[in-house]
């Protein structure tokens, strides 16, 4: 409180000194002008320094700044009336200092914004959500590709066996030429498309696939038992391919189209 009171008193003394110098100026033109210039500069610098002190230390900064502005205006007006060029120079200096004063508070506000912790936390949570979504999409894609795009083994063996049967004259001469293959004797689409199969690996590590399916031609029908194994050169080979023709009755027989005899 005491420091504030003393500062206010100093401001009042400075303003009174400025008024005195303004009054002296018109009396002595040459020597008085030089003296008034020096006094005005010193007063201006002291006033601005005092302003800075007040704004930093006291919460009543704006009030004191307004009071000072009102007092400073008559000082600046009187020199401008007597000497226009000097007054314009002084005004430019004051404006530059004012701009520098105005910019500083914004910098203070900008320094206080906390960014890093919030951004990191939100980013981490969003990353987890994104990873979960990508995981689910990956699982779905894997299921589709594994089961459909890369053909399952039983359907591969089924295709090979059916092609072999369709190109065999013993079967076509008995049940007719366009031979259709399907899984089960029923009208259910899913059951007809599902081929009974058994996949196992023997003692030597060779993979075996057994399939059973039905074939039908214009003149008859039959049952097919087939097994294939994956050879050392990564190709599928028949272990056996047996066709059991059950219709028509006069052609009822069993044919062995493929049989593997190891050398």
């Amino acid at each position: 409180m005491a420091s504030r009171v003393t500062r206010l008193l100093l401001h009042r003394r400075l303003t009174t000194a400025a008024e005195a110098s303004a009054r002296r100026a018109p009396q002595a033109p040459c020597a008085g002008a030089a003296v008034s210039k020096d006094v005005v500069k010193a007063e201006a610098s002291s006033l601005k320094n005092s302003r800075w002190h007040i704004t930093r230390s006291n919460t009543s900064g704006p009030l004191t700044t307004r009071y000072e502005c009102r007092k400073v205006f008559p000082c600046s007006v009187r020199p401008s009336a007597s000497y226009s060029t000097q007054a314009s120079d002084q005004k430019g200096k004051q404006e530059g200092k004012d701009l520098s004063n105005v910019e500083h508070p914004f910098d203070d506000i900008t320094y206080n914004i906390p960014e890093k912790p919030v951004t990191f936390t939100e980013g981490a949570s969003y990353s987890l959500v994104i990873l979960a979504g990508l995981g689910i999409a990956g699982l779905a894609g894997y299921a589709v590709f594994k089961e459909l795009i890369f053909e399952p083994k039983e359907y591969k063996i089924f295709g090979k066996a059916l092609a072999r049967i369709q190109s065999d004259s013993q079967v076509t001469s008995r049940i007719g030429h366009p031979i259709t293959g399907y899984g089960q004797e029923t009208r259910n689409r899913a059951a007809r498309q599902r081929i009974p199969n058994k996949i196992w690996t023997d003692e030597d590590g060779v993979e075996h696939v057994e399939v059973n399916f039905l074939i039908r031609g214009p003149h008859g029908a039959g049952k097919v038992y087939s097994e294939m194994f994956k050879d050392t050169d990564r190709t599928w080979k028949f272990t056996y391919l047996v066709v059991d023709i059950v219709s028509p009755p006069h052609a009822k027989t069993q044919l062995m189209l493929e049989s593997y005899l190891p050398a």
Partner: protein
Amino acid sequence: MGTPETSREPCPDRILDDVGGAFGMGAVGGSAYHFIKGIYNSPNGMRLSGGAQTVRMNAPRVGGSFAVWGGLFSTFDCAMVYARQKEDPWNSIVAGAATGGFLSMRQGMGAAGRSALMGGILLALIEGAGLMLNRVLANPPLPADDPNLTAAMGGNPFPGLPQAPPVVAPPEATTSSGVGGLFGGLFGRKEEEKKPSAGGGKSEILESFDTPSSPIPSFEYK
């Protein structure tokens, strides 16, 4: 061993069956959906009458849409079976894509292409899910069927041909699996009557034991 002569080729007649089945599915499902919707959108005191009115207005339309879709799908599926002479999941996928594209052709080729792609993807997912379920359901019951097979073997002993049996199948298994084949045939007949997917699974599991019952005959006509 159901007699194949009694069961006809399913494809031309299956189209009519699928049209009826799809209409039933759409009518029943559409009735349930629109009944709830009508109840929700009606004021108090008139909810039941509002629901009934909404069902009467919309259920036949939904049933008709499903019938059109099912009929087209079945037609394309039969065309694929005839062209490929083979029945596997690819037939359904191509039929789904063709149905989607055909129904959207009036809106332009771009829209038709997009609908065909969506239909194909949808049926690929359905077929993939079906195959995955089949794979999961088929594995566990294998050891549980052994006591049934042993009991059947005790009941009806069949002499199997011991010539060059498969690695996994001993002679006892061949005879018992023969009996399993008979049961598979019976289950197949029941499945034809009921057409449930569970029946298909059961007969499929039993018929998988038909594989060791393939006796290699001594006579050859080559």
